[in-house]
Amino acid sequence: MMMSRSMCRSLSPLALAAVLLAAPAAALAGETEDMEGGGISQKLTFEGYGELHFNIPNLPEEGNPAPTKGDPATADFHRMALGFAYQYTDRISLHAELDFEHAAQDIELEFAYVDFMIGPWLTVRGGAVLEPIGSLNEFHEPLFFYSVERPYIQTLLIPTTWGGAAAGISGEWQDIRYRMYLTSGLDASGFTAAGGIQGGVRQLDQAASAGLAYAGRLEYVGFPGFMAGASAFIEPQANQRNASPPLDANPGVRLFEGDLRFRKAGFDLQGTIVQTRIKDAATLSADLSENIGVIEFGWNVEGAYHVLDLLAPESDQDLVIFVRYEQFDTQAKMPSGFVADPANNHDVITAGLSYMPISHIAIKADHESWADGRSDHEHRTNLGLAYMF
């Protein structure tokens, strides 16, 4: 794995894909070491993941993620995250992850929290956590989705990776999992018309002055391969206290999410639905000179098939084809007196494939087809290399 990391700096993803495809499968089988143990020590374990993307045309960093015809193609070592866990005792552990974005130009603390396990049904957790919203925000490693970029409702409506300073509990009981946190909230002064609440996520150095929020998630996993999840994020007052200039608005955020996933016999089906309601959006829109929606709404469905299950059942490799439909609008409902920009109402179809020579490395290629309320049609093609260790 060290080899692949150093190689991705020097080689284009296509060349690397060719190298990996040419390698005999037997030479790649080494993953049992993960489960046999023997890291730096049993107490301290390292892990991480990385993503290298090639977008044609490029993907805007914030706001409206739609492609613009004629924009240049970009290769981006999008992110490289290094995480570690330290096990103080069998019950008390520390988990932390640093994210080096865009070839280490931005460094973000993804999370750093301490867990104290009282029982499988109750773990007390405190520190910098990822909000338990949706199925992807907390477990966002690139092997957990098949597309090159994360699904767009999970970049915009749920601003993955979305963290906060929090204290709370989590646990597992029978087939139910839960997480409930009291967490630092979003800063409404960062909300935008096109990006919605995305710009309100604060790095932890500023998070303390934002409002307090309640975040929680319930998951039901009663059958192997099946999960039904529901999440909520409720921030009664998202007005940052020392915002300058101070806001007249008294905004609040209520986000509700539901998701389903079912995997069986090589098929993998999933869907997510999100609605966010912003209180006092009219005054906030006037404050920020941005037409902030009262409601942001989006949903997606995805179907995937593991082709080698049919073609080569004995193979250790994996090849997935998938297609995803997404519909989302950051201005689904506007405060009276403000109009929505139809360009913020998106329909996206993403289709592509993901090849996993071993379960910790994926080479991905997909094509996105975008339409918006102005009936503009644009396209983007993405290639990517993803790995975790």
């Binding site: 049992t32 489960m35 046999e36 069998d90 989590s170 998951e219 995997r263």
Partner: protein, 511 residues
Amino acid sequence: MKPLYACHPCMGSRLEITLHHPDLLRGRVALDAARAEADRLERQLSPFLPDSELSALNRSAARGPVFVGWELNDLLRYGLAVARLTGGAFDVTVAPLMALWSFRQQAAGITAPSDEQIEAALCTVGYHRVRLDEEHGMVTYRTAGVRIEFGAVGKGYAVDRIAAVLTQHGITAALVNFGSTVYGLGAPAGQEGWRVAIRHPRDSGRSIGVVPLRDRALSTSGDYEQCLWMNGRRRGHLLDPRNGRPVEGMASASVAAPTAMASDALSTAAFVLGTTEGIGMLESQADIQGLLIGENRDGALVSYKTRGWDASCAPNRPATLPGRRRFLTAALVVAAWLLLMPSLPSEAIVYLTREEALKKLLPDADVLQAQAVALSPDQKRAVEGLVGGTIRDAEYPFWIGNRGGAPIGYAVLLDVIGKEQPITFMVAVGPKGEVIGIEVLLYRESRGSEIRSGRFLQQFIGKTAAAPLKLGRDVEAISGATLSSRATAYAVKKALALVNVVYLHVRTGAP
């Protein structure tokens, strides 16, 4: 504990005191002292009693300096300060105007005084006509005919004095209601404060808010106590000292302040100033909150609040605070419980002991034989060939279950890393090389313990070394616990390999 209650007519109004004290006698003594204090202040401050200190002042101050006591001095100093703050919207010299309007109302019904009469009265009204030498307690009226009356602010002052007397008598929770002012001393047991409702200015049966008062006063000036109807319009009894006419466009002004004297004076001042100016004036003062209700020309009511009103006074606060308090209490209980433990639990969560696991996996065995097996290099290579990778340990604990002298199953104990920490499994394999059971003995991570669920483990029963044991292919993972699921599949694969190589003598070529 039953509250004690006293009602006492005083200063042309009713003084009502409610207090909580466990000792009935001490409570009554405190009530008597409070009544005596109210009477004493009335004798001193009443403009209607000819021998009050105030009457003496009004008689003589126009002719030359009059010495006043410290209480009258304090009251005057505060009254003049509020007058300066509000540019005369609140004025202790408004009495001649009040008399003029009140006289007209009684004698002639509803006609207003003439402009000439108002102009004449205004010549004796104005705080600048009073000179106070605070240091020496000397008061001079600069104009003949000036008369000071303390009206509302005097009752507010009396409430502060009464609260002080109650405190001196050891009372920690009392509600003092006098005229338009209510003062909450302390709070009833178990409550955040005395909950006082502000009545709707047009409907005495409705309230427009409930304010918790704890060592805090609330005064409401309204036009509903007395009013005139003139030309079809309601005119309140509150006069604007600056123009000599009744205030228009206001229905009520409620002000909460740390002292009753302040709430009383500022509610009157805010009423006269009107909604916009009134809010501005209140917000310029520290620790003062106000709710002003204005009335449009078409009779619609509009409310204006100071910035902190909702946080400190609104009725939603008592509703949210107990929730927060419950949360804090729960957090404290958990913290105390953790602190009281001699040491924090640090051992892994044990679902099953080895004995319990063996009983579940090999229930039919009459003899269980334990064996620690060290793999020979050949055996180790054979196992590695079957699992498709290197294995770390060469020694594993086995148990052979026999029934009637023949083996019915082989169980092996092994650790496999889940996400970060090892999970301890025991897997049993039958004599034909098929999985007959899996148990999780120890689990060390806070996520993924659902791999213990029967529906998940059931998938592995009957699998042999020939099965791929791949997630998503012949076994499905627990969604969201992929790594623990993968660890389980690996544990089964490795157990099958070990039992096959050690006991069933399967030979495979090394990779």
